[in-house]
C-alpha cells in the first residue's frame, strides 16, 4: 500500500471527496490545487446539476431551445447515446423526470406523485456534437449514471497537468488511482447490508473502481436507480462494482449492469465487474481483481 503524503478532503456534488497524494507537496501547492479542484467541480456542477436553480440542466427542464453545452460534454453525451441504444432505452439521461415524480427532486421532497415513463431520446433531445443539445420539449436531464465518474477523471486531468503522478481520488466510494510504480491499492468492497463490513478486497493499479448499490438513497419502495419502463427500482442486484481504465466508463458500467447483461456490455467496452445478488452470491468477470471473503468451515 502506498504511503499517503498529503490528504485533501472536502464536500462536492453532494458527496465526500478524499484525494490522497502519494508524493510530497508543499502546503502552498496543496491549497492552490484544492482551490483549482473546487473551481472545476463548481463549473461542472453549475452546468449539469438538476438540483441547482442556476444550472444549465434546470434551464433545459423549463424551456425548449438550442443549448450550448460545456466543452467537456461530448464524451459523456456520446456514451449516454451508445448505452441508451445498448440497453434499449432503460439507461437514459431523461430519467430525471421519473426520479422527480418519484420524489427525488431538487428539494428532496421524497413524496411520490403519479409516475410516467420518460420520453424517448429522439422525442425530447438531439445531441449535435461537439457541444449542442437541442431540447424539443422541456425535460429533466439527470446525468447521475456517469457524471460523478466523469468528474473524477476531469479532476485527475487537473492534477496531472499540475505535475502530480501518484494519487488516489475518492468521491463517495468511486475512485481513480494513479501510480507510476506498480504498487496496488487495496480497497474494501462495502457490504450493502452491513456497512461496517466488507465482502472482499479489490486491488487496483492505474485503474478506476466504481460501486453502485440500492442501499443508501432509499425512500419508500424506491432507490436512486429507476427503470423507466417498469417505473420502479431494480432489485435483481444488491450491488455492483466495476473496474475500468477511466472512471467515466466504470461509473457508466456500474449503472448499466442494473439494466443489461455484463456479456452484452463487454462486447462493446473493456471493463471488469463483480455482481452481488440478494442471496449474497457473487458473479465476477475472470479478471476482476478481488479476494472474496467466503464462509469457512468452523
Amino acid at each position: 500500500m502506498p504511503t499517503v503524503r498529503q490528504e485533501i478532503r472536502f464536500e462536492g456534488i453532494g458527496t465526500h471527496w478524499r484525494i490522497d497524494l502519494f508524493e510530497a507537496v508543499s502546503p502552498t501547492f496543496t491549497q492552490e490545487i484544492l482551490n483549482e479542484i473546487q473551481a472545476r467541480i463548481e463549473t461542472f456542477d453549475r452546468a449539469y446539476s438538476r438540483f441547482r436553480e442556476d444550472s444549465l440542466v434546470t434551464k433545459m427542464s423549463r424551456a425548449e431551445g438550442r443549448y450550448q453545452l460545456p466543452s467537456d460534454a461530448e464524451p459523456m453525451f456520446r456514451l449516454y447515446q451508445e448505452l441508451y441504444h445498448l440497453t434499449e432505452g432503460l439507461m437514459t439521461p431523461l430519467i430525471g423526470n421519473l426520479l422527480v415524480e418519484a420524489g427525488y427532486d431538487a428539494r428532496y421532497s421524497l413524496e411520490p406523485k403519479e409516475l410516467h415513463t420518460p420520453p424517448f431520446w429522439e422525442q425530447a433531445i438531439v445531441f449535435e456534437p461537439p457541444q449542442t443539445l437541442v431540447v424539443k420539449e422541456p425535460v429533466v436531464i439527470d446525468l447521475g449514471a456517469m457524471g460523478k465518474g466523469y468528474l473524477i477523471d476531469l479532476v485527475s486531468d487537473l492534477l496531472w497537468q499540475r505535475g502530480l503522478r501518484s494519487y488516489c481520488i475518492d468521491a463517495g466510494g468511486d475512485m481513480l488511482y494513479r501510480n507510476p510504480s506498480p504498487e496496488g491499492l487495496p480497497i474494501g468492497l462495502e457490504h450493502p447490508e452491513h456497512l461496517e463490513q466488507a465482502i472482499g478486497i479489490t486491488t487496483i493499479c492505474n485503474q478506476s473502481l466504481c460501486g453502485s448499490a440500492g442501499n443508501r438513497r432509499v425512500w419508500g419502495e424506491f432507490h436512486h436507480i429507476m427503470n423507466p419502463k417498469t417505473r420502479s427500482s431494480p432489485r435483481e442486484l444488491l450491488a455492483v462494482w466495476t473496474v475500468a481504465k477511466t472512471t467515466l466508463l466504470a461509473d457508466a458500467m456500474s449503472t448499466a449492469l442494473f439494466f443489461t447483461s455484463p456479456e452484452k456490455l463487454q462486447t462493446h467496452y473493456p471493463f471488469e465487474y463483480l455482481l452481488l445478488f440478494p442471496n449474497h452470491t457473487v458473479q465476477a468477470s475472470p479478471r476482476f481483481p478481488v479476494e472474496l471473503f467466503v464462509p469457512e468451515e468452523s
Binding site: A171, S261, T281, P295
Partner: protein, 209 residues
C-alpha cells in the same frame, strides 16, 4: 456420458470419493457443455453452491446436451492415488484452511460426509488434448458451504469456455469487519447527500417513527 454412483456406500471414504467425483463431473460437464453443447447466453450452469443441500447434484446441466456426434469425453482422475483404501483429503487444498473433521474419526453417526475441505483434480478431454481442473469443496453438516476451482488452460481455445464458466460461477460471500482489515479505503454506493438524509429524518419525524 457415464455418471458416478450417487448412493452413499457404507464406508465414508468412498462416499467422499463419490462426492468429490460428483463435483468434478458437474464442473467438467458444465465446461464441456459450453464447449460442445448449444450455448444459451443467459443460462446459468448448475454448479455446487450454498443452495445445494445434502448431496451435490450429479446430473449434468441441461446445457450439456450434445448435438451431432461430439460426446463430451469425461475422464476423471484423482490427484492422490487411491487404491480403494480410506481417502483422506489431499495434503494441499486450494484454500489454506486444512480440513477439520468433526467428532471422532470414522464416525458416521450424524453426517453422511465428514465436515471439511476437500480438493481433487479432474481431467477432461478436448479435441486438442486434455485440460485439468482442480475443484475444492467445503462441507459442513452435509451442505456445500464453499466451492472454488482452478484451471490453467493448456490450450488457447479452452480459455474462452473457461472464462464463460468462471463468469457464471457464483460463490457465496460473507462480510468481514472493515476495522479488522488493514484497509485505507472502502467502495460502496455513494454516500447519501446531506439534504437527502435531512429529508428522510423529517419524514420519519412526521411519521412518528
Amino acid at each position: 456420458m457415464s455418471q458416478p454412483q450417487n448412493t452413499p456406500s457404507p464406508e465414508g471414504s468412498s462416499k467422499n470419493t463419490a462426492l468429490i467425483g460428483g463435483v468434478i463431473v458437474v464442473a467438467i460437464a458444465v465446461i464441456a457443455g459450453f464447449a460442445y453443447g448449444q450455448k444459451k447466453p443467459n443460462e446459468a450452469p448448475v454448479v455446487p453452491t450454498q443452495d445445494t443441500v445434502g448431496m451435490v447434484p450429479l446430473t449434468p446441466p441441461s446445457g450439456a446436451t450434445n448435438t451431432g456426434s461430439m460426446t463430451p469425453p469425461v475422464v476423471m482422475e484423482r490427484s492422490s492415488s487411491t487404491t480403494g483404501a480410506a481417502m483422506t483429503p489431499p495434503p494441499k487444498p486450494a484454500t489454506d484452511t486444512p480440513p477439520k473433521p468433526t467428532g471422532s474419526t470414522g464416525s458416521t453417526t450424524k453426517n453422511s460426509f465428514k465436515d471439511g475441505t476437500y480438493t481433487a483434480n479432474g481431467v477432461y478431454k478436448i479435441h486438442a488434448g486434455e485440460e485439468e481442473i482442480r475443484v475444492t469443496v467445503t462441507l459442513k453438516n452435509d451442505v456445500v458451504t464453499a466451492t472454488s476451482f482452478e484451471i490453467t488452460p493448456k490450450f488457447p481455445m479452452s480459455k474462452r469456455f473457461i472464462d464463460m464458466f468462471s463468469e457464471n460461477y457464483k460463490p457465496l460471500v460473507i462480510g468481514k469487519k472493515i476495522s479488522e482489515l488493514n484497509l485505507g479505503r472502502v467502495s460502496g454506493s455513494s454516500l447519501t447527500p446531506v439534504g437527502f438524509n435531512n429529508a428522510l429524518e423529517k419524514i420519519k419525524t412526521q411519521a412518528g417513527v
